[in-house]
């Protein structure tokens, strides 16, 4: 799980907003924090503050839930202003370690934006592409049974409707399909004089 931590550096007073992949260890000394936990690489964040322990807290994820555990019980931490030794974190929670307040944000998960589907196209929207049954499929052979499937270009079926597709609107209250924009465009093109002439006016 990816998280974004935002805080103001106590020494430089610079705003920091790096993106980390859990687990994340926070402490004062880089070498005091573990490089690996249960086979997972640990992102290590160093905060040079005397009130922060050498290895202060560990933020980890379990079942899509973010958990923070204090490694130094004496120094503890605050979650949204409440003193705690461990607890869960939600998007936007404030975690105070020493004099440093860190805002935790869950990073937006990237989703697949490829169009998939055989009969009708839709966004894949899968977050995990490993062994994706949709993204890797090729339908070329089956599409050969309907040449130009999905195309409504000139000379093909439905071309007129396709070209004017932006003019059609469906009203779900009445169930009618309106052609409002086209009417407006035709009014724009036609001057009042033309209209009257067509109507047989002198």
């Amino acid at each position: 799980m990816q998280i974004q931590l935002s805080w103001i550096d106590p020494n430089t007073e610079e705003r920091r907003e790096p993106l980390f992949t859990t687990p994340v260890a926070i402490g004062r000394k880089f070498e005091e924090m573990p490089a690996e936990i249960n086979g997972e690489l640990v992102s290590r964040l160093v905060i040079p503050d005397d009130l922060v322990a050498d290895y202060h807290v560990l933020i980890t994820s379990k079942n899509q839930q973010l958990i923070v555990i204090a490694q130094n019980q004496n120094m503890g931490m605050k979650i949204n202003g409440l003193q705690k030794n461990n607890g869960s974190l939600n998007d936007g929670d404030r975690l105070q370690i020493g004099s440093c307040e860190i805002v935790v944000n869950l990073a937006a998960t990237t989703v697949c934006d490829r169009m998939v589907g055989f009969l009708f196209k839709r966004r894949c929207d899968r977050t995990d592409h490993t062994g994706c049954p949709y993204c890797d499929q090729s339908y070329e052979e089956d599409y050969a049974f309907y040449a130009d499937y999905g195309n409504y270009r000139s000379g093909g079926w439905g071309n007129t409707y396709y070209d004017q597709r932006d003019c059609y609107f469906y009203d779900h209250y009445t169930g009618n399909v309106n052609f409002t924009e086209a009417d407006a465009v035709s009014f724009e093109r036609e001057s009042d004089a033309d209209f009257e002439y067509d109507m047989g006016a002198s």
């Binding site: 339908y139 499937y149 439905g158 059609y168 309106n178």
Partner: protein
């Protein structure tokens, strides 16, 4: 759920309404079962021939020995008779087993086609929805498939039975909430009657003729998504693009559903590939219309 072997053997029909994975697994089981039955049927068929040949040879020898009256040869003749009885029993057993496995050796192209169709449809199916499949392995000319009997137009005393065997019926729902029903019906007719031969004897004759396949596809779609279908209603026929070896039998379009029936020539009625191609073209033809209808069905805010 495991397939009901007794039901399949007795009625030659598989029917279930379950999740797609379950139906697919059942079909795979039927494939494996049919292949095993084919092997066993061949094995017992060969055994039946060997036992019959053995029984015939032993029977001739036994008959020859029975004419000789000698103490030792009588014993040998008795043993041969015993062997003959054993071979006849083994022959009958092999025949019974062969017939038993023949019932499980179902028509291959039907389940292969069904599997192929499910694979194609699964790309757009909601896997959490129930899927209904009825697959019959029965031959077309059975009494339950008989729909009508008429007099032969020019052979006096002869009749014609008309059969409609719907051997596939599948129903499901796509991810766009469109429901579909796909059926395949085999058509055939049998003419039969008594015929006087050149020697003057009366012989009963019958002849079966295939009428091809009727493939019917019905789509029931959400009006809100595809409401503009009414604009295209009169032009849907021109969007139908089916293979040259099949022809359009019927097309009905309403605000809520489309029904397309296509007939396949008799000589292709058992061709897995041609049936598959026709069905894919039918689905694509109707969705060529629906996809455009969707573009025209943007809702007013």
């Amino acid at each position: 759920m495991p397939i009901e072997l007794q039901k399949l053997r007795k009625h030659s029909i598989y029917e279930d309404t379950a999740l797609l994975d379950s139906v697919t697994t059942d079909l795979d089981d039927i494939v494996a079962l049919s292949q095993l039955a084919e092997i066993k049927q061949n094995k017992f068929g060969k055994q039946a021939i060997y036992y019959f040949a053995g029984a015939a040879i032993v029977g001739i020898i036994s008959f020859g020995l029975s004419g000789i009256a000698s103490g030792l040869l009588n014993v040998v003749a008795f043993l041969f008779n015993l062997g003959l009885v054993g071979l006849v029993i083994a022959w009958i057993y092999a025949l019974v087993m062969m017939l038993k496995f023949r019932r499980l050796n179902v028509i291959n192209y039907r389940y292969h086609l069904t599997r192929q169709l499910i694979e194609m449809l699964a790309r757009d199916l909601d896997v959490k929805e129930l899927f209904h499949l009825q697959l019959s392995f029965k031959k077309g000319e059975s009494n339950e498939n008989k729909t009508n009997t008429i007099d032969h137009p020019y052979k006096s005393g002869w009749k014609i039975d008309i059969y409609e065997n719907q051997w596939l019926n599948m129903r499901g729902r796509f991810l766009d909430k469109t429901r579909f029903v796909l059926t395949i019906t085999g058509l055939s007719k049998k003419q039969y009657g008594w015929k006087r031969g050149s020697s003057g004897k009366n012989k009963y004759k019958s002849k079966v003729k295939s009428g091809g396949l009727d493939i019917n596809l019905n789509l029931i779609y959400p009006q809100r998504r595809y409401g503009a279908i009414k604009v295209l209603q009169n032009e849907v026929k021109e969007a139908i693009n089916i293979p040259t070896f099949s022809f359009l039998r019927g097309l009905k379009v309403t605000d809520k559903s489309m029904n397309l029936t296509v007939r396949l020539d008799p000589q292709l009625a058992e061709s897995q590939e041609k049936i598959y191609q026709t069905i894919v073209a039918m689905f694509l033809s109707l969705y060529q219309v629906l996809n455009l209808a969707k573009m025209l069905s943007k809702e007013t805010v």
